[in-house]
């Protein structure tokens, strides 16, 4: 099975407060470190496991600048066979649709049975996978938390749906799936693994290579644009209790009692 996994380099924000820059045009990125989007990492692990069982190859692809190569190497160290970097100044400022169009152009150049993306990334949009599938006229399933290979024509997938339930479907290949965290336990990639793949050539494809019109992607082609970033006003709804912990506790108990929170 030939598998392509679309990945994204994102800032690691879990432990660090995000600060909007003074002009409100972006977040402060100077002190941030970057890594591969967590969901994408699960997708790559899943692809590797499928390949190890069913044969074939795993290619990882990303749209980004030169720095994005780092995450391709990390995923190759994990076990992906090949990395492709899609990079061009014309790609800057793409919206989800633009990213999907760029990926589609690359996918059209190869032949893939299965295309995976992470369910979502740093912007929480959860859109590229579904757009890509529609552009490729392939069936799509989002939030996939189980994959079972039935044959080279059809696979069984589970989607995570409301209530912690799982929706099981059959889906024809080729298809696009967006992968939910928890589908597997991604393997660890250490510095040694990355060094082992440090010298492997990663092809870089630009707009011209892909036959993508520069004005159809990037900021020029984007229908959705960010006007600014802002930190929502703090504690809009919440009345913040302050004082000594004794005072707070007493106040809270009063409130809980009045609301029926203490039986």
């Amino acid at each position: 099975m030939e598998i392509l996994v679309c990945v994204k380099r994102v800032p690691d924000t879990a432990e660090n407060e995000i600060v909007v820059n003074s002009k409100g045009t972006d977040i402060e990125r100077g002190d941030l470190v970057y890594s591969v989007n967590e969901w994408d990492n699960y997708a790559v692990e899943e692809a590797i496991q499928i390949r190890d069982n069913a044969g074939g190859s795993v290619t990882v692809v990303t749209v980004g600048d030169g720095d994005a190569e780092e995450i391709l190497r990390r995923e190759m160290a994990m076990g992906a066979d090949k990395g492709i970097l899609l990079s061009d100044d014309a790609f800057n400022g793409s919206d989800g649709r633009g990213i999907a169009a760029i990926l589609k152009a690359e996918i059209a150049k190869g032949k893939y049975d299965l295309i995976l993306t992470g369910a979502q990334a740093d912007d929480g949009a959860a859109q590229v996978g579904g757009m890509l599938a529609a552009m490729l006229d392939m069936p799509y399933a989002s939030l996939v938390n189980k994959i079972e290979i039935i044959s080279d024509k059809v696979i069984k997938v589970g989607r995570e749906i409301e209530g912690g339930n799982q929706e099981m479907s059959e889906i024809d290949l080729p298809c696009v799936l967006s992968i939910q965290t928890g589908i597997n336990e991604p393997r660890y990639v250490g510095i040694r693994g990355i060094r082992k793949v440090a010298s492997i050539e990663i092809p870089v494809h630009g707009a011209a290579d892909l036959g993508v019109a520069a004005d159809s992607v990037g900021a020029a082609g984007a229908k959705v644009k960010r006007a600014d970033y802002f930190v929502p006003a703090m504690g809009e709804g919440a009345e913040m209790l302050e004082g000594s912990s004794d005072e707070i506790a007493e106040k809270l108990i009063e409130l809980l009692k009045s609301k029926g929170g203490i039986k």
Binding site: C175, A227, A238, L252
Partner: protein, 323 residues
């Protein structure tokens, strides 16, 4: 605005989802004068019941009936919507696991713009819709400008728009004839229902819910003791289940249980929308978190910035003394 606005109604067991009542409000934020059309797809008596209910909320209801639509398979429904929606339509869809499945592809097929996970709408600026989204797990918000002149699909976060209690007396139009063949390359097989644990968190009026801030499995006892003292049940957010500290049946959120308690005490929960999406019925919410910037403080009624590992045992002790 000249374009028609549609709302996609998700429903189950003959009842519309809460989002159905929110989408109409969201639509009014785009255009206060809009006559919004609800689209209800499904089959049988359940479909009729939902259509009837929606005609009391929306001035117009489009009904699409087909046995193939008995289960909402986004792959089939996308084709249906492409067939029935007029050019330039602005379609609102709830940003749930169905909407995430349906909408990105729908926008491509309609050649329309797509804005996912909209939390607020601030009206129009010419052809541009002004909306608010969140990024980085809700830590930062962003104003979006989206050109909707060629149509748009907007996925709307649940709970961000107040339900509309204004009444309508809409007409139901049967659009089944235009639905197309209702076939897709993805075929629904079954729903595997999550195991029911020994406690039913959906039945409790008071929940003490723990999140990542509890730090360690052993500290869950702190929450349990508070819950025991006030007669509540312990629930949690997704990371706690991922870490296997509590069973899946205790998870609140879009990928967990939907709860409607009267009082919700969030301990060390940052307040991602996936978590908040599982809390309905507007409970009295108390948030205790070390991080003053945790998004939970925006939705809670009472906020306390403190180390819960120290504060909660004190609180429990005080309640015990009082009793």
């Amino acid at each position: 605005m000249t374009q028609q606005i549609f709302a996609y109604i998700t429903h189950k067991n003959g009842a519309a989802d809460d989002s159905a009542f929110e989408l109409v409000m969201a639509a009014k934020k785009i255009d206060p004068a809009a006559a919004v059309t609800a689209i209800v797809c499904g089959a049988g008596a359940e479909l009729d019941a939902v259509c009837a209910a929606m005609s009391g909320v929306y001035p117009q209801v489009w009904k699409v009936s087909n046995p193939a639509l008995a289960y909402p398979n986004a792959e089939i429904l996308r084709g249906v919507l492409v067939n029935i929606l007029p050019a330039g339509a602005v379609t609102l869809v709830p940003h749930d696991t169905f909407g995430m499945d349906l909408s990105p592809g729908l926008s491509i097929k309609l050649n329309a713009a797509f804005v996912p996970d909209v939390v607020a709408i601030e009206g129009m600026d010419g052809a541009n819709l002004k909306a608010v989204r969140q990024e980085f797990g809700g830590q930062v918000s962003t104003h979006i400008r989206c050109d909707v002149s060629a149509g748009a699909v907007l996925n709307v976060r649940s709970g961000c728009f107040l339900s509309d209690d204004s009444k309508a007396s809409g007409t139901v139009v049967d659009k089944s004839g235009q639905a197309g063949d209702c076939k897709a390359k993805r075929r629904f097989l079954e729903t595997v229902v999550a195991e029911v644990g020994d406690v039913d968190i959906t039945k409790s009026d008071v929940l003490v819910s723990v999140g990542r801030g509890i730090e360690d499995q052993d500290n869950i006892g702190i929450a349990q003791e508070l819950a025991d003292t006030i007669g509540a049940v312990v629930s949690c957010s997704r990371p706690i289940v991922d870490a296997k500290w509590l069973e899946k049946a205790r998870q609140v959120g879009t990928s967990g249980k939907t709860v409607k308690p009267k009082v919700y005490i969030a301990l060390g929960i940052s307040g991602s929308f996936q978590h908040l999406g599982g809390i309905k019925g507007n409970p009295f919410m108390v948030a205790i978190n070390k991080n003053p910037k945790a998004p939970i403080f925006q939705v809670a009624d009472i906020g306390i910035v403190t180390d819960l590992l120290e504060f909660v045992p004190e609180l429990t002790e005080k309640i015990k003394e009082m009793k």
